[in-house]
Symmetry: C3
């Protein structure tokens, strides 16, 4: 595709020769002549001095004499548009439901869905149009799935919640009579476990994207356009707003509320409600700047202890015995 | 079912009109006339003022003029009994082993088991009676499974332990000649990985319930009636007593012992033995009140540092340079 | 097998009667006459006083009058050799690809591979010789797998990376046109998710061993002979050297570099580059001795606070109000 044509289609400003042709995309390091690359962060812009790419999608502030530039306000999105135009999405090896699937006769599946081998779809499940279910996905009974939902291999939807009533020390299973509702345009990674509600529905809102090995507990309501990075674990009965980002390995305790637009950094532990638009980090989570200041002092606790000892020496008070290194 | 009949069956004290009929259960918010709901925590009792439920199972201290109450000493268990009576457990779409399973001819499976499509059961596996194995469960050779065991979709039982002997920097696989023993009434969530022993058996004791995406290492012995919440990871050769609760995302290092009745909060890191009945939290774990006090001071480390600086100023000693924010 | 013959084959020094025959291996507690056991740590050597084993592989410093010893410089590796000689590896229930696999006609699989039921292998995948793919493994299109690679049940290879370009609050999927390359002699546990590259290849280097439920992000390059313990999560575009060990549940943020021979303890959070041969622990990670000292003081923060208050009292300055226990 000619660069001038591509620039028009991805809504970018062309700086360079519009007659150059590009046939595909590659990283700055790997790109060869005839390929398009990408750089948005000025810190990586020096790689433009050595790349063999014929052109690059860049942010508006970046300049280069060596190759043609496609400048865009949102260069990552413009680059994504170029990848779609030049490469497209995966061509599936079959259409519809592969014969080696196990779809209950009471389930309904919309037009245009691709169901890979080994997928199990239980009784009364309803799946919308143009969904992709990769191999060995499991869908328990009564789940409701919207349109254009992508579910990656090995993921389990609508599994029973972890609900037991304990009597005399024995845990008795509570029938999990709710279901799971996944709205349109959701994508879920591999090996995730999304529980059904105990009494009502677990809900994953429209456009939310979930990475691999994420667990969502029973009855939790997730809003629209959230991003949950790999290995996030969310307990039951949590309410999560729209546009919430949870970093990898973060955990959220049960019955909490996380407000719209909140961002929780990786490996955090959320055990209280989170205000909308908060940016939090740590276990337990703190406002991110406070967490970073506290973590910096944590690192220096040995020196802090020495300073206290010096003050005690000056004040002529006896220091208590040394703390021993933690055994557990 | 009439409330007076239900009260008798779930061993609850009826306060209200026994002739009221309930046909199902729902949350306080969603319940309609003719439905039964539940509240045990007095903090949620105010929802009784607005619910449309015809009746609710409650703890003995809760009162209401608006709807009939079924009072129980263990209201959660009484409610569970009501859910079982009014809804029952899942009706499976087939009986026995589905034809699309892969069961080794040397494996034996007891009466009343339901084996979903895509399940693989390896050589010499023995499975008791009335078990449920959901779709795409994997059972390696020689596992021994008791009666009434439930295993959710995508879980792997008896996988090789992570055992390698390193010689000259190369990791050589050690044949994992042990097996996995799962006792009666165990339930295991989706996408779990329970390893076989290297030389002997990994054991999951009677009545223990395991949530999704939990990993149990080779040779670990888990006692009876434990609860492991989602994403728990237990290394190899650990000994866990009876009635132990591990919160979500908690990790336990190898070769440790956790005593009967211990409770470890979510996201904890256990790297030493734990006394029976301890209640612990944190990474590394501390007694829970000590952890909470320390974590509260952690949050205020910036202020603590200021207080030390002020004391240094008063004592006329020079403060060391500021700690920098941690880079990693 | 006679002990003198075994000693020769595993390159150990025999102390005792070479005519003794052993037929298998067992733990010191479980071993019976005619069995071989193992102890390398002198702390467990007292079990030699009570074991019924006929012989044990031990480190050179350990002595016993009760049973024959096979002394080796690397006793764990010598014991592994004995397990291989006496027990061998798993005998698989079938040869080649089981009929209940789903292998795309454009995929190629080398000689000697064992492919269990339920495995899905996508278009243009290339698999080398003598690999073992356990049940319900999923391999996305274009992956390249070396020789002698073992992949345990339920694992997903080459799944799409978590790549979205956000425009006007909506996350747009970026086609993941890279692939996954797994080199020779890699072993991957159950329920792992290894992503394909967005534009180039994700690489798992020769001899690296990965435990259960590990996630590796798109475009990450892992070196040779690494060990990743269960539930490790590595983000995208990370560069990991050779002989790197990551403890269980450790997370690594995107675009970082971890040098050769580094060891990161369990449950750590890596958010900066790591020097070769570092030994690190904590979240955020610190050099391990510093982390342990800081963690020991963390445990004693309540006492530290009291010491500061006492100094403030002596200096006659007013203490600020008590920090409250963290709510979240």
């Amino acid at each position: 595709m000619r660069l001038d044509e591509l620039a028009g289609k991805i809504n970018a400003e062309l700086v360079g020769d519009g007659a150059i042709e590009v046939s595909g995309v590659a990283t700055l390091e790997a790109a060869q002549a005839g390929q398009l690359s990408f750089v948005s962060n000025p810190k990586y812009a020096k790689q433009l001095l050595t790349t063999n790419a014929s052109a690059a999608v860049v942010s508006t502030a970046i300049k280069s004499d060596r190759l043609a530039l496609l400048k865009a306000k949102n260069p990552y999105f413009a680059f994504r548009q170029a990848v779609v135009l030049l490469h497209g999405f995966r061509k599936h090896p079959h259409a519809g439901a592969h014969p080696a699937t196990h779809i209950d006769p009471t389930a309904t599946i919309g037009e245009g869905c691709i169901i890979y081998p080994g997928v199990f779809i239980g009784p009364r499940v309803r799946i919308g149009r143009d969904c992709i279910f990769y191999s060995n996905v499991n869908v328990y009974d009564d789940c409701r799935i919207g349109d254009r939902v992508i579910v990656h291999a090995g993921t389990t939807l609508g599994v029973d919640g972890f609900g037991f009533a304990t009597e005399m020390g024995v845990h008795h299973k509570i029938p999990q009579i709710g279901n799971l509702v996944i709205e349109d345009d959701v994508e879920i990674g591999a090996n995730c476990s999304i529980e059904r509600g105990a009494l009502d529905s677990t809900v994953i809102g429209r456009g939310t994207k979930i990475d691999n090995s994420v667990v969502v507990g029973h009855g939790t309501k997730v809003g629209e356009h959230c991003l949950f990075v790999a290995q996030v674990g969310i307990a039951g009965s949590v309410t999560i707003g729209n546009h919430v980002t949870l970093g990898g390995q973060t955990g959220v305790a049960g019955h909490l509320t996380i407000g719209d637009g909140a961002t929780i950094g990786a490996k955090s532990g959320v055990s209280g409600d989170i205000e909308p638009k908060s940016v939090m980090l740590g276990a337990p989570v703190l406002e991110i700047r406070r967490y970073r200041r506290a973590a910096a002092i944590f690192k220096n606790l040995p020196e802090l202890l020495e300073r206290i000892k010096r003050l005690e020496g000056l004040a002529n008070v006896e220091a208590p015995p040394e703390p021993r290194e933690s055994e557990s």
